[in-house]
């Protein structure tokens, strides 16, 4: 269980990462992106779909960014198929045909997913002073349980022994709404380590303020 101070610091760090992701997305699509204040929290896998508001039967597209080292886990960008197509359309432009171009969608979303998840993980890394060792990002389609199941298996991360930091971000690209979720799944050991780092950070800030 996290204290109010720990939740506050963690929220602040992830919020900064999601804001960075929003500004990076604006550069990528070359349009104005307005970002709604994201929903942030910590949960376990069993309550995940309720927390992020994604139906377990909804077809999703995802990009999974694994990381190893002293902290094991993975970050996921999740979009409904419809929102994935809308984002791809913005990235590729007029030539995108959602019915025919699976490869083009996969390539574009894999790259944007890589950039967005790195914005959040990199912000955590630069703030707490821990380096994530990344793997090549993987694109997947399926339902939330399928995607989490495959990704957890690849990352040797048991869903029963993991914590999820989630951020539900809502981007308005010009006037079109694209809703996506960024999840960070950590093993219990990695989560404990992250909280220790967050505590260390708060301690340093308190010392500087005295």
């Amino acid at each position: 269980m996290l204290t109010r101070e720990q939740t506050g610091t963690l929220t602040e760090i992830i919020n900064a990462g999601v804001k960075k992701a929003g500004s990076v997305l604006s550069e990528l699509v070359g349009r104005q992106v307005r970002m709604q204040v994201p929903l942030l929290g910590v949960t376990d896998f069993t309550n995940l779909h309720d927390c992020i508001g994604i139906d377990n039967n909804l077809q999703l597209v995802s990009v999974c960014q694994q990381f190893h080292g002293t902290m094991d886990g993975y970050a996921l960008l999740l979009l409904s198929r419809e929102n994935g197509d809308a984002l791809t359309q913005h990235l590729i432009g007029e030539g995108f045909d959602p019915s025919a171009m699976d490869v083009e969608r996969e390539e574009a979303l894999r790259e944007v997913g890589n950039i967005l998840t790195n914005s959040v993980l990199g912000t955590i890394s630069n703030t707490v002073g821990h380096r994530f060792e990344y793997q090549v990002p993987v694109y997947r389609q399926g339902t939330l349980p399928e995607i989490i199941g495959f990704s957890s298996c690849d990352a040797s991360c048991s869903v029963g022994d993991s914590h999820t930091l989630y951020a539900r971000a809502q981007f308005d690209i010009d006037d079109e709404r694209v809703v996506g979720s960024i999840l960070i799944l950590l093993t219990s050991r990695a989560f404990k380590l992250l909280i220790e780092m967050v505590d260390g950070l708060r301690f340093k800030v308190q010392l500087r303020q005295q």
Partner: protein
């Protein structure tokens, strides 16, 4: 006009950056991972290498290590989504001449390429 070797496993990124580099008047050869990039270094003799970091077979760090081992004088620039300060430092220590974050801006890429080409020209004129 310079010969630039562009190494990235994402065809989406290669397309974006090739377009930028070609519009600057450079000739671009693409490779989809560090291994294929290294093979092309020998045959192509590029003026500059622009590389991603996370790639299958041989990643950008491996490519930089190999170039350093060969004592290569070809300047390498890293373009990566990885914003970790420690990654940037590692790349610079391995001999990368610059580190840009994705999505790379046309103006930033142009300035970096121009600066490095001028520095190569300066080094050659000293010889």
């Amino acid at each position: 006009m310079a010969k630039i070797l562009l190494v990235d496993d994402s065809s989406f990124q290669r397309k974006l950056m090739s377009k930028m580099l070609c519009s600057m008047g450079h000739r671009v050869t693409e490779a989809e991972n560090g291994r294929k990039g290294l093979d092309l270094v020998d045959t192509l003799e590029p003026d500059m290498i622009i590389t991603d970091l996370l790639m299958p077979e041989l990643d950008g760090i491996g490519l930089l290590r190999d170039l350093k081992k060969r004592d290569s004088a070809i300047p390498a620039v890293v373009v990566s989504a990885d914003i970790q300060e420690t990654t940037r430092q590692e790349c610079l220590q391995l001999g990368a001449r610059d580190f840009l974050n994705k999505p790379v801006k046309h103006a930033d890429l142009a300035a970096t390429v121009e600066r490095l080409l001028q520095s190569i020209a300066g080094e050659e004129s000293k010889c």
